[in-house]
Symmetry: C2
Subunit: 195 residues, 2 copies
DNA sequence: GTCTATAATCTGATAGAC
DNA sequence: GTCTATCAGATTATAGAC
């Protein structure tokens, strides 16, 4: 049966989220109007409210989806087994995942402040979950005498910050391939925690 | 001679910059109105334009002052001499300076996008200057066989990102003192580049 | 499902009184 | 140096036609 003209609910929703992600990352949440998002999608501003109750919820959906994907993808990528192998997998996974979703990563660090307290807390819980997964790998390696750490929690923070920093300078087609970047960072991380 | 009532040019200017820094960091540049800044200072919105030609220039002044101070303070703190001592001094300096100016650090990473192209380029030049100073210490240590590095530029990016990350989790009065944080990070940095 | 029109409010910036 | 008043336009969100 022919679809009613102008009815595109299954594709307009994702297109709104894509446009909002791109514009929020580029200009900042507060600087982007609902009209700009609508124009990017090709609908009128009023139509957006069929897909989100308000602007903040649109941001929350983007952030929650990103954090859920991050954790789910790491759970899939985690090889388990020896702590050294798991740590190397984490380093390469984190760099790759964050480069592939640079806009969402930027939003997750910069626009949390535009969430209400309870939404903020929900995203923070997901971030803590991810950090704790790395911390656990480090702690297990330290307990096995493979890593020498003075503080597994701080080491996890330090490693994640270092890896996420790749997003601030890496440019596709530049001097280094993604694989070369992974090699360089794994070398530094490995030595920083090696026993 | 008695000052004319309501005339406070030497103190209102700094108070405007203080208020703008705090509000921009808390809510984002675009989300803060000139009226909010004025209210925080205790003047009317129109009075702000005696101190800044427009909102973007107010942001630019905050960012440029921050970067100028960062570089000048590191030049003062740099002990010179042995690369290991200089690197340790850099680690402790960067953590201390950034914790003392958390709002300005956050602004410098998040609100560059609200600057016009030429102002953006001016701030980026200052940031590159700071990064290059660390890179030079690393390169000299590598040339002397004291550090083992595969890429001094990437190592500088990695170290700066790791150290700046302290701002995202450190809370005054928490489990660790600032000195203890400096010790932990210096231990990790030292091992990540040691020959 | 999308559109147009609208409500109520806020925006950056300026002019002119004091 | 600060205030009040104001301009011209943008803002989020909703109501109701189609």
């Amino acid at each position: 049966m022919a679809r009613k003209t102008g009815s595109h609910s299954e594709i307009t929703g994702p297109r709104i989220r894509d446009a909002a992600l791109k514009l929020f990352a580029r200009h900042g949440f507060a600087a982007v109007s609902m009209r700009q998002i609508a124009a990017e999608v090709g609908v009128q501003a009023g139509a957006l409210y069929l897909y989100t109750p308000d602007k903040e919820t649109l941001l929350l959906d983007l952030l929650r989806t990103h954090m859920d994907d991050l954790i789910a993808d790491w759970v899939s990528a985690d090889p388990g087994g020896a702590p050294v192998a798991r740590l190397e997998a984490f380093v390469r996974f984190h760099i790759r995942f964050n480069l592939e979703r640079a806009d969402a990563v930027f939003l997750s660090y910069m626009e949390l402040r535009n969430l209400g307290p309870e939404n903020f807390a929900a995203i923070e819980t997901l971030r803590r979950d991810y950090e704790t997964r790395l911390e656990t790998v480090l702690s297990e390696g330290a307990a096995a005498g493979i890593f020498a750490l003075r503080d597994a929690k701080i080491a996890a923070y330090a490693i994640i910050a270092m890896l996420t920093g790749v997003n601030t300078w890496y440019r596709e087609g530049g001097r280094l391939s993604r694989a070369a970047v992974g090699d360089l960072y794994w070398d530094m991380v490995r030595r920083s925690v090696a026993a």
